[in-house]
Symmetry: C2
Subunit: 156 residues, 2 copies
């Protein structure tokens, strides 16, 4: 009776995404993956989570094509977990989480890690949402149009 809710068939893309990566450990695993971590032991050590939990999360991310479980690049017989293209496309999400945290989760002057442009070492710009015509949008300028409200497509 207490089955865990699933949103994998929702019409809302946010719900489907959240259904896949919307938990604490998955997001932190992805953060570490973007940071270059690859090996089971690296994730486990860096995150400090139980190995069974890590194993299930990695399996899940691999099953959804976000990570790939490939032979280790160091020539050993072990394997490693690397971001796929699909996984790399989560970059914006992680940047968004990071920038919000930088802005709202630290005291003034409290040090935190920073995301910088690898070439110049300068911090990246805050994310912005832009309209199709280039105007900058904030939350009140954008609305969700449900499927039922969308214009029926031209034929074909």
């Amino acid at each position: 009776m207490a089955k865990r809710a699933s949103h994998d068939k929702a019409e809302c893309p946010v719900a489907r995404t959240v259904d896949i990566i919307g938990d604490e450990w998955s997001l932190l695993i992805l953060r570490d993956a973007f940071d270059g971590l690859r090996r089971f032991g690296e994730f486990q050590k860096n995150l400090g989570l139980a190995k069974n939990i890590l194993a299930t999360r990695l399996r899940h991310l691999v099953a959804h094509g976000i990570l790939e479980h490939a032979p280790a690049s160091d020539g050993s017989a072990f394997h490693e977990y690397v971001l796929t293209d699909k996984g790399r496309d989560l970059f914006h999400v992680l940047v968004g989480l990071r920038q919000w945290g930088e802005h709202h989760c630290f005291q003034p002057g409290e040090p935190h890690s920073v995301l910088v442009d690898a070439q110049k070492g300068q911090p990246v710009r805050p994310l912005e949402v832009h309209a199709h015509d280039g105007r900058r949008l904030d939350a009140t300028d954008a609305v969700v149009k449900k499927v039922s409200e969308q214009k029926p497509r031209a034929k074909r």
Copy 2:
């Protein structure tokens, strides 16, 4: 012994953010809040989650200053939950989740809701990460600089 992990003192802003909003229901509540939902019953009906869970999540979001529990705007004696400025700053995160889902969680031709510019009705542009100097960056162009690697600040 099975205490839930906490990252509220991490030096990584992603970890702190995820610690606060990194769960399925909180993210979906926020999605609905951006969509204009305000009342307890609206959230409960739209999300279909148990009332006790909703109550704890809302309390948590209010405690962290993301939602505000204010008297209802319709003049009744009830209250409603509205995004604070801090909460509205999560817009980019939700947009990121949405765009990834649009791109990766639907079959070609499968309908989904769309985030559009309220003025013109056009879909919003995909998010982009830009360097300080305006160059567009992808995941491989950006690196996290840990606190320990940062230049000690000039005096003062």
